[in-house]
């Protein structure tokens, strides 16, 4: 007991020390940067801006002018370049290193958030009053960012509306240069802060996006290592939702690297559509791809855990080997297709043998951009996931087994057993006007029984099964 207490208190002490060190490092870096900005030599302040991975990378790769200007100043250029390279290196190893240790705005946000949390917790709750409008802002910011991202490659036209200008270092230098000019930027920043202290960091900041991108390779390495270890399901879920944010920024990164991809989304989206079962509330795939922020919130929100995100390595984060999701087909997609689809949610009925609950629309409620949109529960019927398809040859009844589970389990009463004289059987029939493709029948179907001659009898459901029911796209949907 005492030992435990001691251990605990020593743990607390150690954590406090680490915290103190981190904060002092952050304040140290902060003061250096501010000093550099305020310093009279404009070369220094201009160079300091390039500590931001976003500006540095875009400068290095895209804008030789900026590059030469920092190079021209010899020593200062060399120092900034090596400091920025170091930061990028650290970003590759540590998630959002810049955000957490270097970014002066990040520090401001953290300090302000701390104060706000302490002061206003009771009155405004954690997210403040504007929280309920978060959805709108996220929607807005994503479109704004996507549409201006290509401008990164043409700094000459980069205007105050460009994402470039919203780099934290850019904001800071602008503010310190001329407060009036920076006012709109600061206002937006402030609004973001009111929405949620971390809204800026995670939803808005373009520099954050680049850092997410930089961290991607490590994620993949980790993931593939973890894959071998075969984690438990819920761990995988957390993993996939973390990955989803990364996927989002990967998506953003790809967008900024090649504006042509953005143009082709619509076209590609249509041809890719047939592979996916989107969450209910999605009607047109191209619209969905444009709206979806790849934030993974729907996946986290889904109480039945049937949603998963398309990811780079295996197409789908499927936890199961069963063939009820189009995983196999996804794995064969081209890199370009994957790039478009990565981070978007799809329904995978194999996850934990679950289905889309009848009275649930939390995915739609969680969706910040309206990509998944259900006006109400009844809307699920219109914006269905798909429709159930029955294959006689895999049905228990076809092999003279007692079964009627699908009829009993269908939450909508869409399945009935109908007598077929030529088969001398009653078999499930699906009412296409009622079925919404919720997948309940798919996950409860015991599947084709495996009966070996007279030897081993394998209980249906005990092993991998071929089910008589599956979900397919509604035929009229395939066309539009």
């Amino acid at each position: 007991m005492d030992n435990e207490k001691k251990l605990n208190s020593s743990n607390v002490r150690r954590r406090q020390i680490v915290k103190a060190v981190i904060w002092s490092v952050r304040f140290g870096i902060f003061s250096i940067i501010i000093a550099a900005f305020l310093g009279s030599v404009s070369v220094v302040s201009r160079a300091t801006v390039h500590l931001s991975p976003l500006l540095f990378l875009s400068g290095t790769f895209q804008n030789s002018e900026t590059q030469s200007s920092s190079n021209a100043s010899g020593l200062i250029g060399a120092i900034t370049t090596s400091a920025a390279s170091l930061i990028i290196l650290l970003c590759l190893l540590k998630k959002r290193f810049f955000c957490r240790f270097v970014c002066p705005l990040g520090l401001c946000v953290d300090v302000a958030a701390n104060i706000r949390r302490k002061t206003f917790r009771t009155r405004f709750g954690r997210y403040g009053l504007v929280f309920s409008h978060r959805r709108f802002f996220a929607f807005f910011s994503f479109f704004w960012f996507c549409s201006t991202a290509p401008l990164l490659f043409f700094p000459e036209v980069a205007s105050p509306i460009s994402a470039f200008a919203f780099d934290p270092m850019a904001i800071l230098s602008q503010t310190l240069n001329s407060l009036p000019k920076a006012t709109p930027l600061l206002l937006i920043f402030l609004i973001c802060f009111l929405i949620s202290p971390y809204f800026w960091r995670f939803q808005f900041c373009p520099c954050g996006a680049v850092q997410e991108l930089l961290y991607l390779p490590k994620t993949f390495v980790q993931k593939s290592l973890k894959h071998i270890k075969k984690e438990r399901l819920h761990e995988e879920k957390t993993q996939s939702s973390i990955a989803s944010r990364r996927n989002f920024w990967a998506m953003v990164g790809i967008l900024s690297l090649s504006p042509t991809i953005a143009v082709s989304i619509k076209k590609r989206g249509l041809s890719l559509k047939k592979f996916f079962f989107r969450p209910p509330g999605v009607t047109r795939e191209s619209e969905f791809l444009a709206k979806c922020a790849r934030c993974g919130r729907c996946v986290k929100a889904c109480p039945n855990e049937i949603l998963t995100l398309v990811n780079f390595s295996n197409g789908v984060n499927s936890s199961s080997e069963e063939s009820v999701s189009p995983k196999g087909e996804l794995a064969n997609l081209s890199l370009l297709d994957k790039a478009i689809l990565v981070g978007t949610p799809i329904v995978d009925f194999a996850r934990g043998a679950q289905f889309c609950e009848k009275d649930c629309d939390v995915c739609s409620q969680a969706c910040p951009t309206g990509a998944i949109f259900l006006a109400d529960i009844a809307d699920k019927k219109v914006k269905s996931i798909g429709i159930a398809k029955f294959e006689m040859e895999h049905c228990m009844l076809y092999y003279e087994q007692e079964c009627s589970i699908c009829r009993r389990e269908c939450p909508y009463g869409a399945i009935d057993l109908v007598w077929l004289e030529e088969e001398y059987l009653e078999l499930p029939t699906i009412d296409e006007n009622i079925c919404v493709g919720c997948g309940r029948c798919v996950v409860t179907c015991p599947g084709e029984p495996i009966f070996l001659n007279d030897g081993e009898y394998v209980d249906p459901g005990a092993t991998t099964r071929v089910r008589a029911l599956s979900i397919v796209k509604k035929s009229q949907e395939r066309i539009n």
Partner: protein, 462 residues
């Protein structure tokens, strides 16, 4: 004909004599067959002149009427169980084990109902999922039966944790005889229950008619069994319907299962897909049982049943030929078709409480829970069986169990499987016995006492 010369008094005497011999020496208790044999060649009754026969009359207006008849009483008992299927056998054994005089009536010559005579041998749904675990909710008599089958050669197969086992119909018939005689249940086989006996006066508290037993049809004509409590486990409500209990009549799949043999002599090619109509394994090597869904029709309509028997037999023959025409399976043969056509659901009582699928899925709890029902393949959680779902709304001293339990159509589908019939039968037996013992109407039996007695008999109540 000699019967026509009998006087009315003689006839009654005849019946009384028949009844006496029956109850004295019948299949009851550990009696030996020697008692029976010694009566060989005895004259039953004196002069069979048939003068007092009482045939049904065809009246001039075309009406067919049965003239009133005073019935001989073949037995008087505490608990009368009509229908010796899975539910009825459990009910009878449970009641008799509580020390009450129990009588079991069965229309055929064996026990087990659809599970034996119907060749339905796959024990579905006595498992449920509770969290991540599978739980066997069928305990008590059902579990005892499965355990005892395990001890008999070729009695049961696939009895493993979480699996649905399959039993052998003949072994189960034997086991039931063993258990029923062990429990000292009085037995009337080859006796069709054709009517309920209802007291002249309604119950003083509820005003409902009170059931006092049932009439069975025997070769010697109709005979009466009087009982303090009656349990209708005929599956078709053959007693609660004439007693006047409100019920619904349903159409449901009617099939005809059969068994095939010589599967151990089949010589399929490497990797050959077996033919379709091979059904499912049985505990007997080389023998399989083939189920049949059949169309949804009225299972108490004799025209329908006759038509189906004819049609099903043709279909079975066709299926067998299909198997025999498959290379390697030429020696497979049709061993037997079920002597009892597979009627799943017909008349379902309207109980004080009706089970619904929605409640079952939501795991609704009842104060008067007398058993836990299972799911077919662990597809959902266990559900409670309230005592009130066994009790009709408008008749006293008759309860039901098994497939005629009060349930909405989709729920009947779950209720009717064999383990759930064991469970509800067990509960009905205990409840009727306690009601008879305490001299109360079945509706008012003490639920805590029933639950306690069930737990004493190792039932599972959650």
């Amino acid at each position: 004909m000699f019967l026509s010369e009998l006087t009315r008094r003689d006839l009654l005497k005849t019946f009384a004599f028949g009844a006496a011999t029956f109850s004295a020496s019948s299949l009851k208790t550990q009696s030996t067959l020697a008692d029976f044999v010694s009566q060989k060649d005895k004259t039953v009754g004196e002069l069979h002149d048939g003068s007092n026969a009482n045939p049904v009359k065809l009246l001039a207006e075309g009406q067919i009427v049965r003239p009133q008849l005073s019935l001989p009483k073949i037995s008087e008992t505490d608990v009368l169980v009509v229908g010796g299927g899975p539910a009825g056998c459990c009910a009878a054994i449970a009641a008799a084990r509580l020390g009450l005089k129990t009588t079991l009536v069965e229309r055929y010559g064996h026990f087990g109902g659809l599970a034996t005579g119907g060749l339905v041998v796959h024990i579905l749904g006595h498992w449920t999922r509770e969290g991540d675990k599978k739980v066997q909710v069928t305990q008590g008599l059902g579990e005892e039966m499965m355990k005892r089958l395990e001890g008999l050669p070729n009695g049961i197969v696939n009895r493993e944790f979480g699996r649905n086992p399959t039993l052998d119909a003949e072994t189960y018939k034997y086991l039931l005889v063993e258990m029923i005689t062990e429990a000292n249940v009085e037995v009337f086989l080859h006796s069709w229950a054709i009517d309920a006996i209802v007291d002249d006066a309604p119950d003083s508290t509820t005003g409902n008619p009170v059931v006092r037993g049932a009439v069975i049809q025997t070769k010697l004509g109709p005979q009466a069994i009087l009982a303090k409590q009656t349990i209708d486990t005929t599956g078709d409500g053959d007693v609660f319907v004439p007693a006047g209990a409100t019920h619904t009549q349903r159409l449901y799949n009617i099939g005809l299962p059969y068994r095939i043999g010589n599967l151990d002599r089949a010589k399929p090619q490497e990797g050959q897909k077996p033919p379709r109509h091979l059904g499912d394994v049985t505990p007997v090597p080389g023998v399989r049982w083939v189920n049949m869904t059949g169309p949804s029709l009225d299972g108490v309509d004799v025209k329908t049943l006759s038509k189906l028997e004819l049609s099903h037999r043709k279909q079975i023959w066709k299926q067998i030929q299909e198997v025999r025409n498959t290379p390697g399976y030429e020696e497979v043969f049709l061993m037997e078709t079920a002597p009892q056509i597979g009627v799943r659901i017909t008349r379902v009582i309207e109980g004080e409480e009706t089970l619904t699928l929605e409640n079952a899925k939501a795991g609704k709890k009842y104060d008067d829970c007398v058993g836990i029902g299972g799911a077919w393949h662990g597809d959902h959680l266990g559900w409670q069986i309230p005592y009130r779902s066994l009790v009709p709304r408008n008749v006293e001293n008759i309860i039901t169990a098994g497939r005629s339990l009060s349930a909405e159509p989709l729920m009947s589908d779950v209720v009717r499987v064999i383990p759930n019939c064991w469970v509800s039968g067990h509960a009905a037996g205990v409840a009727a016995a306690l009601a008879a013992k305490d001299g109360v109407i079945a509706r008012n039996v003490s639920i805590p006492d029933v639950q306690k007695a069930l737990l004493d008999q190792k039932a599972y109540l959650g």
